[in-house]
């Protein structure tokens, strides 16, 4: 009997890209230094698929995004690599306005199948522009979908779903998970956008989180396990968001903490507060707690380690409820 196969996150991503490019000749990759390549998930792809399908652009994020948008209008399925998700801001109008509005504003007649990839979160420790997690901003703009995996398994399945989706989808991945290992089956599978995943079952309090923070939340859950039974839900997809899964959990736990590495103000966690207020107010025994990145630009140095949500902060916020 063989061991279940383990892959690193970037290997899982590379498998997703390879399979989707193998399966559809209209799918291609475009980005800065992706042949070289900056991140190992594109390593070898230009050799395998040729330079026509693995395109290095000038340092020109606006043009990069615009080019992908045009190609998608013509029916190709570009996968844009922004390298760092923060570089998306250089193409703010193309991503947040043009791509987001395209389908709807033109009468909902034509799809815009663009996938975007970018890393984010504390991991390189080089501060704001390399670390910002823009899911809050992305999800605010109707027309975009946004997801982020916490495991290699989810990374592969979500990225494949993103590429097959007929809408602009931003696939975020957390820099701190680049080399994280996890089981990835040999057989093909998808992780649908809009499906959360209960990463740990529990009955006293629900912690909703995503990305690297799933790891922190699970660890915090373990630490309090003797006293408190914590359910940890991995959102996986911010838009569409799996509200039914969350509400079902709240029926059991009646308490919610949202752990999010994005900025607290008007971010994902705020939206969850509002949604639960609207759809699950009677389920709540206590106000929803937010454990987020404080409302300050992401610092680097030795500071980011404690400004982002930590196991200790999560644990404290769980204990406070009991």
């Amino acid at each position: 009997m063989t061991q279940p196969r383990e892959l690193r996150l970037y290997e899982a991503m590379r498998e997703a890209l390879t399979e989707e490019m193998d399966g559809d000749p209209d799918t291609f990759l475009i980005g800065e230094s992706i042949r070289g390549g900056t991140w190992p998930y594109t390593k070898g792809l230009s050799d395998k698929f040729g330079e026509r399908r693995v395109v290095d652009t000038p340092l020109a994020e606006t043009g990069l995004a615009g080019c992908a948008m045009g190609a998608a209008q013509e029916g190709l399925r570009p996968v844009v690599d922004f390298m760092y998700a923060g570089f998306m801001y250089q193409a703010g109008s193309e991503v947040l306005l043009q791509m987001a509005q395209y389908h709807f504003l033109h009468g909902s007649k034509r799809a815009l199948p663009v996938t975007m990839i970018g890393t984010c979160g504390v991991g390189m420790r080089v501060a704001h522009e390399h670390a910002i997690i823009p899911h809050g901003t992305l999800m605010q703009h109707p027309g975009l979908k946004v997801c982020m995996p916490s495991t290699p398994y989810d990374a592969k399945g979500l990225l494949k779903s993103a590429i097959r989706d007929n809408n602009p989808v931003f696939f975020l991945w957390h820099t701190g998970l680049l080399t994280a290992k996890g089981h990835v089956p040999e057989e093909e599978y998808l992780v649908p956008l809009g499906k959360a995943d209960v990463k740990r079952e529990g009955s006293d309090v629900t912690v909703l989180t995503s990305g690297l923070q799933v790891r922190n939340a699970l660890e915090a859950a373990k630490r309090v396990a003797g006293d408190i039974s914590v359910e940890v839900i991995d959102a996986r997809s911010f838009e569409p968001f799996d509200l039914p899964c969350l509400l079902q959990s709240l029926e059991k736990t009646n308490q919610l903490i949202v752990v999010d590495e994005g900025f607290e103000r008007a971010g994902f966690a705020a939206e969850i507060c509002a949604l639960v207020m609207e759809h699950g107010y009677d389920l709540l025994d206590a106000p929803v707690e937010r454990v987020c990145h404080p409302n300050m630009p992401v610092p680097g140095g030795y500071i980011d380690a404690y400004t982002m949500p930590t196991i200790e902060r999560i644990e404290a916020s769980i204990r406070k409820l009991f």
């Binding site: 291609f28 395109v55 080019c67 045009g70 306005l97 709807f104 909902s108």
Partner: protein, 327 residues
């Protein structure tokens, strides 16, 4: 250029200008939503850009006259675009956009209100053409103002780098909104930029329809041959306000009305093309009059048909179900 091509150009200009006048009347009479950016005597370049494209060539119209000149010249029936301006369900964008065009079957893939945005999507069309190894051409039209935008640079750079089959077609009317080009651009010609990318460039008199047509034929052939991008700049005029409708002109300084009148009297591209073609014996006065009449009627029909259609006012829930594809 043969006589048939010249006649095609002339007829397309007649039609474009008839639609432009019709749109202006409609916006003034209040039957349209939003604003309109009159083409006036600046429509020869747009007509020339698109009259000789194949149906499968890509077209990104310049927004002036809302791209009507370009689309009409490409052979598109723009009735549903007129309806779009009137917020009708029959509008090409289902009445949601006010002034976005959308004729995917003719490879006019929609628009953006952001000046210069069409240059970068055009790069994507060009890349798609080489990706699929077709011989399609991309006609990417803008005004002079667009060449202020950083994305113009990124588009030129990518086009040159990948030798894309693109025509950068600049309709330089010397104005960007309320700014004369001298105030905001260091050189008189946008096409001066092209050499820096190794892109060949040419400046044409934009009031000379036939010259614009010649330039378009050459440029399209250049791109179709696989010789990479080319830059054509047509020097034209804005003999009127930037826009009408909306609240747009409340703060604007008036430009010299006498100069505008003089331009209209002396530099109308249609008068010039008409005279030249009659002179050369390509058409006669009667033919011109009948084309003119037909164009007027065509524009009127488009307006009437748009007016007769239903206002788009779908329920919010219905709209919400269409924000995403495959929802």
């Amino acid at each position: 250029m043969d006589n048939e091509q010249k006649t095609l150009l002339l007829n397309n200009l007649i039609r474009a200008m008839a639609f432009d006048r019709m749109m202006l009347r409609a916006i003034y009479s209040g039957s349209m939503v939003g604003f309109y950016h009159e083409g006036g005597i600046a429509l020869a370049p747009g007509v020339a850009a698109a009259s000789f494209l194949r149906e499968d060539d890509f077209l990104a119209p310049h927004y002036r006259a809302h791209g009507l000149a370009h689309m009409i010249a490409k052979g598109i029936d723009v009735t549903s675009y007129v309806a779009e301006h009137m917020g009708r369900a029959a509008g090409c964008c289902a009445g949601r956009s006010s002034s976005h065009y959308f004729y995917p079957e003719s490879r006019v893939y929609g628009s953006s209100a952001n000046i210069g945005a069409n240059l970068v999507t055009s790069v994507g069309y060009g890349y798609a053409a080489i990706y699929k190894n077709t011989d399609q051409v991309v006609m990417a039209c803008t005004g002079d103002g667009a060449y202020g935008e950083g994305r113009a640079h990124e588009a030129l750079l990518m086009a040159a780098n990948w030798k894309l089959p693109m025509v950068f077609w600049c309709e330089n009317n010397g104005m960007s909104q309320y700014s004369p080009i001298e105030d905001i651009f260091p050189k008189a010609n946008c096409s001066d930029l092209a050499a820096g990318y190794g892109i060949p460039a040419k400046v044409v008199d934009g009031q000379d329809l036939i010259a614009c047509g010649e330039a378009a034929l050459e440029a399209i052939a250049h791109a179709r041959r696989g010789d990479g991008p080319i830059f054509i700049e047509c020097m034209t005029l804005r003999a009127q306000e930037h826009a009408v409708g909306g609240l747009n002109n409340a703060g604007s300084k008036a430009r010299d009305p006498e100069l505008m009148a003089k331009w209209k009297a002396e530099r109308d591209p249609l008068e010039r093309a008409k005279a030249a073609l009659i002179d050369e014996g390509v058409i006669d006065g009667a033919r011109f009059d009948s084309m003119n009449e037909a164009a007027g009627a065509e524009a009127e029909r488009a307006l009437e048909s748009a007016k007769a259609s239903e206002k788009a006012m779908p329920a919010v829930d219905e709209l919400m179900a269409t924000v995403y594809a495959d929802a």
